[in-house]
């Protein structure tokens, strides 16, 4: 049996070589397809990684630890008390978590009003630790006037440009924040504008402001408490593992069932959907492209079966079963596809690596600033090379080769040997 397999493989390779010219066109389309496939997967992943990175920096990180009830209520009463915060911070300090933790940010988030002589506006107030927040958030890079918060700031506020205009404020102006405090009472806090930012997203620029965490704690009567602790990881691929080990680590402590570890997929469902839709449309495009390529393969392989009907008859006369002689067709189709597909993938990989490994500048294709799902897109996409994608691409090509050779193989299977020997001359 294995000797027959070896014979079939040898014949398949020889036949491909004999039909080199006919095979070449099919191979060329497959090489181009493989290269395009891997390029678009790599670039897609790079783009998504960038979306995710920008989005999680604006929001709560790749992973966020918060109280279970806070997820729904977003209310101060469902914050994490300081002993839980300490628990989480201890768990993170232990080290040895899978993935790289770039930043850990404690935050106290509350909704309230900002008012000046010019009027009042609803706002989302984020109490942050300025030192770590600067490493985490993108806001400190969007400074328009003044500066971002610093350690030691007390009554400082870093305010969106839209809010500044709405309240008719200037750098250095004072204004008042009011919100419900930990005790359920309305409390006010006077702050001063130390800097302004512009993200390009009007809703954010109109309603977001940062103040020091300690100021927020004192004002709201919950010093040391936070509403969430956000984690920034090396990349989004590290999320599932980091999450489960953190969850596991926390679960060893009493009261941990009050806490949950949310991934960006849960805290940013629109982004999650956008990534999936984008992946899907890429798959759809690749599916159509490879459907066309597959038709070329079907044609090449089928033609070679039809030309060589008698050869398949001879093989059966010599002692191959119909299945074995048909498997020669399968082998030829698969060799052709997998060989050229692998070359294509290697080509796509190296071209992407050498030409755009550092980043592919799409700014000429994006006329305006491009915002999406609360994120401003960077015009430079850095490709993301993942082994899983190579495996996926190769398996896909193998599958295409298999599918495309199946019909010609069936035709070879049904060949009537006596019939092929007729019409001699």
């Amino acid at each position: 049996m294995s000797s027959k397999t070896a014979v079939i493989a040898k014949l398949a390779l020889r036949n491909l070589r004999r039909q080199a010219r006919r095979s070449l066109l099919t191979a060329a389309s497959m090489i181009a397809g493989g290269a395009l496939l891997i390029f678009s997967l790599i670039l897609g992943d790079g783009t998504h990684e960038q979306w995710i990175d920008s989005a999680v920096r604006m929001a709560d990180g790749h992973l966020a630890v918060q109280s279970v009830r806070f997820g729904d209520s977003r209310a101060l009463k469902d914050r994490m008390p300081s002993e839980y915060r300490a628990l989480v911070e201890r768990a993170l300090r232990q080290g040895g978590l899978p993935g790289d933790i770039y930043a850990t940010v404690p935050r106290l988030s509350v909704t309230g009003m900002a008012s000046s002589a010019a009027g009042a506006r609803p706002v989302r107030i984020l109490g942050v630790d300025p030192a770590v927040e600067a490493a985490f958030s993108v806001l400190d890079e969007k400074v328009r006037q003044g500066r971002y918060l610093q350690s030691g700031d007390r009554l400082a506020a870093f305010v969106g440009i839209g809010l500044l205009e709405a309240l008719d404020l200037r750098l250095g102006s004072k204004f008042v924040l009011t919100a419900q405090d930990a005790g359920g009472e309305i409390a006010g806090q006077l702050v001063r504008v130390v800097g302004t930012f512009r993200t390009g997203i009007p809703e954010v620029d109109r309603s977001l402001l940062h103040i020091p965490l300690s100021t927020a704690g004192d004002w709201l009567g919950c010093s040391g408490d936070v509403t969430s602790i956000g984690l920034l990881l090396g990349n989004s691929q590290q999320v599932p593992q980091a999450r489960s080990s953190l969850q596991q680590r926390l679960s060893r402590h009493p009261g941990s069932d009050e806490l949950q570890v949310l991934s960006w997929r849960e805290s940013l469902p629109e982004l999650d959907a956008a990534v999936k839709i984008d992946d899907f449309s890429n798959y759809l495009f690749q599916g159509i492209l490879f459907g066309i390529i597959a038709l070329g393969i079907v044609n090449t392989v089928l033609m070679s079966v039809m030309y060589r009907r008698r050869e398949f008859g001879v093989l059966q006369a010599l002692g191959l079963t119909p299945g074995q002689s048909a498997s020669l067709v399968l082998a030829e189709g698969l060799f052709l596809t997998v060989l050229s597909g692998t070359i294509g993938i290697a080509l796509g990989l190296s071209v992407t690596w050498f030409l755009w490994g550092e980043g592919l500048d799409l700014s000429s294709m994006m006329d305006n600033e491009w915002t999406f799902s609360g994120v401003v897109m960077e015009p430079v996409v850095v490709p993301s090379f993942r082994v899983a994608r190579m495996v996926q691409g190769l398996s896909f090509i193998f599958l295409i080769g298999m599918l495309a050779s199946l019909y010609p193989a069936l035709r070879a299977l049904r060949i009537d040997v006596a019939e092929t020997m007729k019409f001699e001359r």
């Binding site: 014949l11 001879v314 093989l315 059966q316 006369a317 006596a418 001359r425």
Partner: protein
């Protein structure tokens, strides 16, 4: 004595062509012993090819039974048939039918390769046969670089190399000129004499009929005569 190389019992093959019934083989009963060299003669359309296809298990009979080396073909499935062909039968076709991507040597050793025989043993056997049939030195040529007579001799080697119980040759000289035909027939007769290979040789060439010891005449799918005659090849 062991099994006959071939036994058929009232074998029929009826083709249905549109409304018409073609009775290609009509109740052929035949026994051939190991070592025989049988010429199957008959005009074109007399059913020679159909009979050989029935014996080779390439076509299923409408009625009757066929045994090769004691094994009943008519009961076999396609896998068993394939194995039987590999182990018990050799085929020689009118148009050589060598595999174009293999060298002469690779074509000739193909049945041994399928059986998983060691390379050394294979090559020894095939080279000896190349020597014997006057093909020495042509081992590495592709079929396209060989004359028709040479290709057909390679096909003969391919048919006999596995020491089958029976070799079926369907008008193997029809595409050859008379000189090449003579050489081929001589080669086959020598193999029959020296190795004891059993041949059934279908032809409508009267010149070749004269040279056979056992001559079976087929007309309209029936055996009309089956005679032993004095072979003249010894002269």
């Amino acid at each position: 004595m062991g099994n006959p190389a071939l036994r058929t019992e009232a074998v029929w093959k009826v083709f249905h062509q549109e409304a018409e019934e073609v009775r290609a083989v009509r109740g052929v009963t035949l026994t051939i012993q190991p070592g025989e060299f049988v010429v199957l003669a008959g005009p074109s359309g007399s059913g020679k090819t159909t009979l050989l296809n029935l014996i080779g298990g390439l076509t299923r009979p409408t009625d009757g039974r066929v045994w090769v080396d004691g094994l009943e073909l008519t009961r076999m499935g396609s896998r068993e048939l394939a194995r039987m062909r590999l182990e018990k039968l050799g085929f020689i076709f009118q148009s050589y039918n060598l595999l174009p991507v293999l060298s002469a040597l690779e074509n000739a050793e193909f049945p041994l390769l399928l059986r998983g025989m060691e390379r050394e043993q294979r090559e020894r056997r095939v080279r000896e046969l190349f020597q014997r049939t006057g093909l020495a030195g042509l081992e590495h040529r592709r079929p396209g670089k060989l004359s028709g007579g040479q290709q057909q001799r390679v096909a003969v080697i391919r048919a006999v190399v596995g020491e089958p119980a029976l070799v079926l040759a369907d008008e193997p000289t029809a595409n050859l000129d008379s000189a090449a035909s003579d050489i081929l027939l001589t080669v086959m007769e020598e193999l029959n004499r020296d190795l004891g290979t059993t041949f059934i040789f279908a032809t409508h060439d009267s010149r070749l009929m004269e040279r056979s010891r056992r001559l079976i005449h087929l007309v309209d799918g029936q055996i009309v005569s089956d005679q032993w005659q004095e072979s003249r090849r010894e002269q």
